[in-house]
Each structure stands twice: as structure tokens, then as C-alpha cells.
């Protein structure tokens, strides 16, 4: 590998592209070379788009050569896209056998926006099938490995995007987050992962898992880079009626480094028994760093935290069972032929879905079925209200809440695969944020004694992305957590 431009931050690469010090083609080729070298050990991608990426890079170079000053920051920047986004003409599998050969005839709104900015797509990344999982082990195409230790998981469900960014296979990536699927893999792989406020970003063309919880967001190697990507993603879309019409701020301008007077809430329920002491120590040290630059900390209470996972697995699986009804073997995707239409549906779905997807469809169908709706689904929605109210009360006392992202660092491959409930519990600190629809970001805050990254979660009130990004960037400026080279 000659120039290693793939190791640049987006902000740096963007400035160098404008000054014509580097070309988008060089930058893209360095990413593709790194992908070719790293993929046999990592498996972050389901589909690598070499030919398309080279063509997009050439177009970006032509645009940069024409040189207007309002050139979008992402022009010529190589990104990786979770394989849950519809990409016109490029296979989109959602890591499922049922969509193994599906080629969308259209782009998701966010893909369209990135394209019009001139971004380069190096490929589609691996994930848990239909975004259901916390380790990317539920992919029909095999797991993604953690670039810091290939005996461990990358986290999930957006594990491929997190690993690709950590291993310098691209400069940034897109993920989706329904219960922690951006933040947990970001934490496990040592990168920045941002889940915006519910409704901040359009989900049009994003394959649905649980529609009242799903949100789109970026992975990057710095908070600034995440802010740059979010600027392009966010904003009204008439094709997604849940998407907010609020104006989109220039997030990069919020990165002033100043957190004086910021009140950081620390929920007592989040530092519970069962948490890895090294994770707790690292997050507590980060809080001290915040105090050293003028922020204050205050203990808060989120009393219903312990009920979040139970509420989530009723609400999310119920919505999933409805969303996944469309995979019937008739209009697109896999078909297994049978004697009649119902048998065709049943055998297609039996063959096309993996074990975890079947488990969630079954639980969700049960929770919605006659006689059980009130006891399960409605109860879950009511507890969701209590969890939202907890956060509303907490934000009267603080501007941001800081917690660990996950109770542990990356766990070993296979460690939790035979125990679904234990796997679900790895999302204990992230899931309540989705139930309340809040924005939250995972940023690296240290390493444990096994050299595995530790992530800190910053949670804010609705539409407080600027505050979250400002606080995350201020922490990076302290320089307490030096990014470490990956093992591969």
C-alpha cells in the first residue's frame, strides 16, 4: 500500500481534495486496496463495489476540477453503506437469504443525497439479518470479526460498517439503530457512531425492522466527521411522512470545544452490578475530564431503566412481524415453489429467514395475537411512556446524560449465540434511548486490559444533536483517548 490516504479523516481528505493535493481516484483506490487486503480476515462487506466506486471517484474528480467553492464536503469521499439501504442497481440483501439476489430499482433518500454530494460508495456492509442482533453473527453470510481482535465480535447489528471504518477500509459509513445497532458496534470497534433523534433523518428506502424505533446514522473516526455526514443525511423528505420538517443546522459549526456550564447527568441505574469494572472506570474517568474543562456532573435517576429491554422486545418484535410480512415469495426475493400460495409463502419464509428472525417474528406475532395484545403489546407501549417520562424529568436537571454504551467490551464469537436473552441484555444501556426517540452518540473513551475499545454514550433531549456533537468533540480535544492501531 503506497500512500495510505484511506487513513485520513473526512475533514482532512475533503480539504486536500479541494486544494487538488490528492484526487478522489487515489483516495478511493487506497480504500479498495485496503479492502482487498483486510477482507479475508474481517468480512466487513457483503458486496464490494469496485467498478462503481472508481467511476464515482472519476466523476467527483471532474467536479472538483471544475472547482466551485460550495463543493459539498463529501465530494470524492469513500463511504461504506450498511446493506439495509436500497441502492439502485446494486444488490441489497439485508444479510438475508430471502433477499440474496434483490437488486433495488431505486435509491434510499439518504443514498440519493450522498450521491448528489458526490460521495463514493465502496460497498455494502455486513450486518445481523434484518438488523436483528447485537453481534453481526446473525448474518446469513457469516459474521464480521472485530478488527481489534478477530476472535471477537464487531458488535451489531451494523457490525460491518463499524469494522470497515475502524480498519480504514473507508472514511465513514452508514448504519441504522433500532436498539443500539450503531452505538454498540461503534463502541466495540473504537469508532464514533451517532443515532440522531427519531424523525431527524428520512428512512425512505431503508429496509424496515421496527418502524417506531428505526433511525439512520453515521459512523466515523472523529466527531467532526460524523457531524459532516449528518448534515447531508438530515432533513425533510416528502417520501417519509415521519420525517421532521425542522431546519437542519450546520453541525460542524457547533464544534466550538466549549462545554463550560454544561450539566452532565449520570444515571445511578446505569452503573449496576454485572458491569465490567474496567468499563465503569473508563467512563468515570471521562466524566472527570469533562469536569476539568468546565462541565458539571449531577446524579440523576431513570427509574424504569430495568424494564426497557422487556418493553423493547414486545414493541420491536410486534412491529417486525408486521414489516416482514411482505417477504412472501411473490413479488421479489426468494421463492420456494409449493402446491398452493399459502404453502409457497410458508416454505419460502421457512427457507429464507434465519433463526433469530424467525424467533422475533414468532414473538411479535404472539404479542399481537387475539387474547394477548393487551397483556403484551399494549403493556409494552405503556411502559414505553414511563421510560420517556423518566428522560423528560431527567432533562430538567441536566443538558446531557453520559453512560457506558455497553456493560462489557467486545465479547467472543459464539459466546452468546445459544442464549438469546443474554444477547439481548448487551443492549441494556442503549435500548431505552430508542424507546424515547432521543439522539445519542457513542465515542471511544479508553481501552481495557485486553486492548479492546470502550465506548461512552452521550444522550440528549430531542433535536439536541449540536450539543451532543459539541460535547463529543470537546472530549476528543482533551486527547485523553489516543486511537490505537487495529490488530489487522
Amino acid at each position: 500500500m503506497a500512500s495510505e490516504l484511506n487513513k485520513l479523516m473526512i475533514a482532512e481528505a475533503s480539504a486536500m481534495l479541494r486544494r487538488r493535493e490528492i484526487s478522489a481516484l487515489q483516495l478511493t483506490r487506497d480504500c479498495l486496496e485496503r479492502i482487498a487486503a483486510a477482507e479475508p480476515k474481517l468480512h466487513a462487506f457483503i458486496t464490494v463495489c469496485e467498478k462503481e466506486a472508481i467511476e464515482q471517484a472519476r466523476q467527483a474528480d471532474a467536479r472538483l476540477a471544475a472547482g466551485d467553492n460550495d463543493m459539498p464536503a463529501l465530494c470524492g469521499i469513500p463511504l461504506a453503506i450498511k446493506d439495509i439501504y436500497a441502492t439502485k442497481g446494486v444488490r441489497t440483501t439485508c444479510a438475508s437469504r430471502i433477499l440474496e439476489s434483490f437488486v433495488p430499482p431505486f435509491d434510499a433518500t439518504v443514498i440519493e443525497r450522498l450521491r448528489s454530494d458526490g460521495a463514493v460508495f465502496v460497498g455494502k456492509t455486513n450486518m445481523d439479518e434484518f438488523a436483528m442482533g447485537s453481534s453481526t453473527e446473525n448474518s446469513a453470510f457469516g459474521p464480521t470479526l472485530n478488527p481489534h481482535d478477530t476472535g471477537r465480535v464487531a458488535g451489531g447489528s451494523s457490525g460491518g460498517s463499524a469494522a470497515a471504518v475502524a480498519a480504514h477500509e473507508c472514511l465513514g459509513a452508514l448504519g441504522t439503530d433500532t436498539g443500539g445497532s450503531i452505538r454498540e458496534p461503534a463502541s466495540f470497534c473504537g469508532v464514533v457512531g451517532l443515532k440522531p433523534t427519531y424523525s431527524r433523518v428520512s428512512r425512505y428506502g431503508v429496509i424496515a425492522y421496527a418502524s417506531s424505533l428505526d433511525q439512520v446514522g453515521p459512523f466515523a473516526r472523529s466527531v467532526r466527521d460524523a457531524a459532516i455526514i449528518l448534515r447531508t443525511l438530515a432533513g425533510k423528505d416528502h417520501r417519509d411522512s415521519t420525517c421532521s420538517a425542522r431546519a437542519v443546522p450546520d453541525y460542524e459549526r457547533a464544534l466550538t470545544g466549549d462545554v463550560k456550564g454544561l450539566r452532565i447527568g449520570v444515571p445511578k441505574e446505569f452503573f449496576v452490578e454485572g458491569m465490567d469494572p474496567e468499563v465503569e472506570k473508563s467512563v468515570r474517568a471521562a466524566l472527570k475530564h469533562y469536569e476539568s474543562i468546565g462541565a458539571s456532573t449531577v446524579e440523576i435517576s431513570l427509574p424504569h431503566t430495568g424494564y426497557a429491554i422487556a418493553a423493547y422486545y414486545l414493541v420491536a418484535t410486534a412491529e417486525a412481524s408486521a414489516n416482514l410480512a411482505r417477504y412472501d415469495g411473490i413479488r421479489f426475493g426468494l421463492r420456494v415453489n409449493a402446491e398452493d400460495n399459502i404453502a409457497l409463502n410458508e416454505t419460502t419464509r421457512a427457507k429464507g429467514f434465519g433463526a433469530e428472525v424467525k424467533r422475533r417474528i414468532m414473538l411479535g406475532t404472539f404479542a399481537l395475537s387475539a387474547g394477548y395484545y393487551d397483556a403484551y403489546y399494549l403493556k409494552g407501549q405503556k411502559v414505553r411512556t414511563l421510560i420517556r417520562n423518566d428522560f423528560e424529568r431527567a432533562f430538567q436537571k441536566c443538558d446531557l446524560i453520559v453512560t457506558p454504551v455497553a456493560p462489557t467490551t467486545a465479547f467472543k464469537l459464539g459466546e452468546k449465540m445459544n442464549d438469546p436473552l443474554t444477547m439481548y441484555l448487551s443492549d441494556i444501556f442503549t435500548i431505552s434511548v430508542n424507546l424515547a426517540g432521543l439522539p445519542a452518540m457513542s465515542i471511544p473513551c479508553g481501552y481495557d486490559s485486553k486492548h479492546l475499545p470502550i465506548g461512552m454514550q452521550l444522550i440528549g433531549p430531542p433535536f439536541s444533536e449540536e450539543t451532543i456533537l459539541r460535547a463529543g468533540d470537546a472530549f476528543e480535544r482533551i486527547g485523553a483517548t489516543k486511537p490505537r492501531a487495529t490488530a489487522i
Binding site: P105, H238, G274, F332, F353, K358, T385
Partner: protein, 131 residues
């Protein structure tokens, strides 16, 4: 770990008492699970029919056990009194935005049918429904 609590890993096959895992989460021993089944094999088969999933005998048994454990776990929600709590269905901004009803796309039958597992002219083809 609070002292005096029985650990899940230490429970015997005959154990019916409450026990906890290393995180302090209440778990049921397999014996306790058998004693208070949340979902029967017959119910699993009914739900599978509703969900249009053809399950093997092994899958039915495995799913029964997994669903049983999850349903026992979500029972903890019954510790909360929610009689006067309104349910949350959506957390986005209230209201449904209006827009003009304008055609913005063009008919593209070939593009739409390109992913069809089976087609004939501009139709999706399925097994015969009516004799």
C-alpha cells in the same frame, strides 16, 4: 452480587426456587420453567400458521423454549401499575404533513418486475388459486 442470592449457574435440575444470573437478572431454572409454561407447543403451531412460517419439529420445540423464556422475562413489566398510563405508539412530531397530490414518478413495469421470481408479461405469476 448481593449476598444470599442463588446463582442461575448453580441451580440443579430439580430446583424451583428463584435464582439470579451474574448481572443480577432474575432467571428461571429449567425445572421452574417446566412448572409454569407460558406457551404450549400447540400455541407455537398456531402462531406459526399466523406468521406463515413452516417449522420443523426441532424448530417448534426450540422456539417454544425460547418464547417461553422471553415471555417469562417480560412478565417483569407486571410489577408496574400502568392502569392510568397512555400507550406510546410513536415518538415523532405530532401530526401528518400534507402535500399536493402530484404525480412524481413514471410507470416502470419492467423495473418493478425485474425482481419477480416468476412473471408473465406485466404480471407476477403465482400457483393457481381457483380451480
Amino acid at each position: 452480587m448481593a449476598s444470599g442470592r442463588r446463582l442461575f449457574d448453580e441451580a440443579t435440575d430439580m430446583d424451583l426456587a428463584e435464582c439470579y444470573d451474574l448481572r443480577g437478572i432474575k432467571r428461571r431454572t429449567p425445572a421452574a420453567a417446566m412448572a409454569e409454561t407460558k406457551i404450549t407447543l400447540e400455541q407455537v403451531r398456531h402462531v406459526a400458521r399466523l406468521a406463515r412460517l413452516r417449522l420443523s419439529a426441532d424448530e417448534e420445540e426450540r422456539l417454544r423454549a425460547d418464547m417461553d423464556e422471553m415471555l417469562a422475562y417480560v412478565d417483569k413489566l407486571n410489577e408496574l401499575d400502568t392502569k392510568d398510563v397512555a400507550p406510546t405508539a410513536q415518538v415523532g412530531e405530532a401530526g401528518m404533513p400534507m402535500r399536493d397530490d402530484e404525480v412524481t414518478n413514471q410507470p416502470a413495469a419492467d423495473a418493478m418486475l425485474a425482481n419477480a421470481p416468476s412473471r408473465e408479461r406485466n404480471y407476477f405469476k403465482v400457483p393457481k388459486i381457483i380451480e
